[in-house]
Amino acid sequence: MRTAAPAKTRTMNLVTAVNEALDLALAADKRVLLLGEDIGRNGGVFRATEGLWKKYGEERVVDTPLAEIGIMGAAVGLAVNGLKPIAEIQFDGFMPSVFDQVVCHLGRIRSRSRGKLSVPLILRAPHGGLIHAPEHHSESPEAYFCHTPGIKVVVPSTPYDAKGLMLAAVQSPDPVIFFEPKLLYRSATGEVPSGHYTVEIGKARLVQEGNDLTMLTWGAMTVTCQKAAAKLAAEDGASVEIIDLRTLSPLDLETILASVSKTGRCVIAHEAPNTGSWAAELSALIAERALLKLLAPVERVGGWDIRMPLFRLEQYYIPDADRVVLAARKALAF
């Protein structure tokens, strides 16, 4: 469900949209607090929390010691204790530290307490590559989190969705892992309504309609798919439907299956290594539930099954429009 968007809009980039959502959340509810490394005085290394420390004070926008397990465990405790912590892990590559908390506790406290306790926290982290960042700053770890029961995983690709999904996450009674594609922080711009609105968690976004092939994607790869679809339209006369999942868990299976059933061909594009990826789960679900509608095998386009190389080769690791086009042509020619 999408609440009615206020009429006034402003053009902004994705990081500003995140900042605006956090600002609104802090203003609306005194139980909301932000914690993380360099998020206070420095406004976050990507400036996602710029100005909030000054506006809301150091008790609500908290520069923590450099300790990710501490940040995550604190957020769990704060959330169980009735607060709404929004924790930031500075880079995706620093997230493995928090796995113990996420895997063993975050998604489990509600059921283990027979519904008496809940952990309504938000864990924010930049996501993905292609910004020429140093090692461990360009990862796509979403599959690890999607694999874990009891939590929700969100990846917006537009400023509108970033703000609306963040405000929906603030209202979520369950924990939300909120990935922010760092390539899009400043390169994605769009109209964003001022004031409060939400984009429902668990609903995909139809980027463009088409009849010949479905592209399922998320994060910065959404933009790559748009480029690939334009090339396929121009050179192959192919009509491509693109679905930006926005929420990876829980999946909007209804939208996915309806599109794949319509086109009969599907390319899933993402940045993580293919093996054991979220694309693998999607491919399995499509095979289980829409096999007889398929006209070609589902194609997965992801990173290779090797570690992310240093940035001079990242363009050959993370799929580009050419790789998406080649996969689509394979499906179309099948």
């Binding site: 450099l66 300790a67 960042a133 700053h137 290779w304 099954d305 240093l310 940035f311 001079r312 050959y316």
Partner: protein, 375 residues
């Protein structure tokens, strides 16, 4: 019933050479003049290298680069108390450490230019890759030290961490094991007072970081980290203890990051110029120069010669760095396993197809050779 003191600790701080060049004769480490001159030369050269690397980054010829300036003593001096066959594990801000271990700095440039060929240790050195997610190496170093003890080599393992990383749980586990098993491990906390924008004072309510050692039965010491002689003396003593089977040492070196966290950071957003200026006066290089001059080991003529040599050395390293051919994209498939898996063989072929699609069939013959091992 009684309330008794069951343990007491004193945290000591070692200072030998003052910023004005005066020194405590009784504490001077017994080292050759050649080694004293080497200390100075390494620090001068790594600072000049740092300045050039920043210029390269600013002109778009290097990726994000973490500055060293101000920390030359803590970087360049401890490796001098070790043998190449001792393990050294720097942090990502470890250019000076690798340099003191004999690494050609063209490779450091290559690494920060995002090129995997930039990891290139001298043969025979027990060097380890550094970890960018901070702190994860601390337990590994404990394991490296354990291995030396197990093999009865009398070798040691020395590593670095920052004041920020001292907050991570990894240090707790590393020191717990190292103390319990009396391992030949040396942990140098390079306390440069800022973890990006978060000051030392916000990392821990602990009065010093050195005192964390006592919680684990580990020897601890605080050192003026901008005093090359004190850093050397403290490291040498820790190495001697480790080799003698007396266990690990935690050394807190108090230094200062004069530059930004990296070229992607702007330190003026979070700290006062006054503080930076205060630390500039405690510079490790100028006090070493005063010391050497006072001992008649150094003069302006030698300084001039060093300046010229340093410039041509850096020019040579930058030239060598820039002459590396572009990396071959297929190189990323090398060295992932001792023997590549069937999946990787298939995927490498897919990348070849992609390269042909982009650049024509000829492209594969034009790429530089793959250096790594495949399949």
């Amino acid at each position: 019933m009684a309330l008794k003191t069951v343990a007491t600790f004193d945290v000591q701080r070692l200072e030998i050479l003052s910023p004005d060049g005066s020194y405590d004769k009784a504490l001077l480490p017994k080292v050759s003049n050649d080694l004293l001159l080497k200390m100075y030369r390494l620090m001068v050269q790594i600072r000049a290298f740092d300045e050039r690397a920043i210029l390269l980054q600013r002109s778009g010829r290097l990726g994000t680069y973490p500055m060293i300036t101000g920390q030359e003593a803590t970087q360049c001096i401890p490796p001098l108390a070790l043998k190449p066959t001792d393990w050294v594990v720097p942090t990502y801000r470890g250019g000076g450490v690798y340099f003191a271990r004999g690494m050609q700095m063209r490779y450091a440039l290559l690494y920060w230019a995002g090129d995997d060929r930039g990891t290139h240790f001298p043969d025979g050195n027990k060097d380890m890759i550094f970890s960018i997610p901070v702190g994860t190496h601390l337990t590994q170093v404990m394991g490296l030290a354990w291995g030396e003890k197990f093999k009865k080599t009398k070798g040691v393992a020395l590593t670095y961490l920052g004041d920020g990383t001292s907050s991570k749980g990894d240090l707790h586990e590393a020191l717990t094991f190292a103390g319990q098993f009396k391992l030949p491990a040396i942990y140098i906390i390079e306390n440069n007072h800022w973890a990006i924008s978060v000051p030392r004072s916000r990392q821990s309510a602990s009065q010093t970081l050195a005192q964390k050692a006592w919680g684990y039965g580990v020897a601890g010491l605080q050192v003026d980290g901008n005093d090359p002689l004190a850093v050397y003396a403290a490291t040498a003593e820790a190495v001697a203890r480790a080799r003698a089977g007396e266990g690990p040492t935690l050394i807190e070196c108090e230094t200062y990051r004069l530059g930004h966290h990296t070229t992607a950071d702007d330190a003026t957003r979070y700290r006062a110029d006054k503080e930076v200026e205060m630390w500039r006066k405690r510079d490790p290089i100028s006090r070493m120069k005063k010391f050497l001059t006072g001992k008649k080991l150094w003069d302006e003529k030698k300084e001039k010669k060093l300046t010229t040599e340093t410039r041509s050395w850096i020019d040579g390293e930058v030239k060598a760095y820039e002459e590396f051919p572009n990396p071959n994209p297929l190189d990323m498939f090398a060295n992932n396993y001792e023997h590549a898996t069937p999946a990787l063989i298939e995927q490498r072929a897919q990348l070849e197809e992609l390269l042909k699609f982009k650049g024509g069939a000829k492209i594969l013959t034009e790429l530089p050779p793959v250096e790594g091992r495949f399949p």
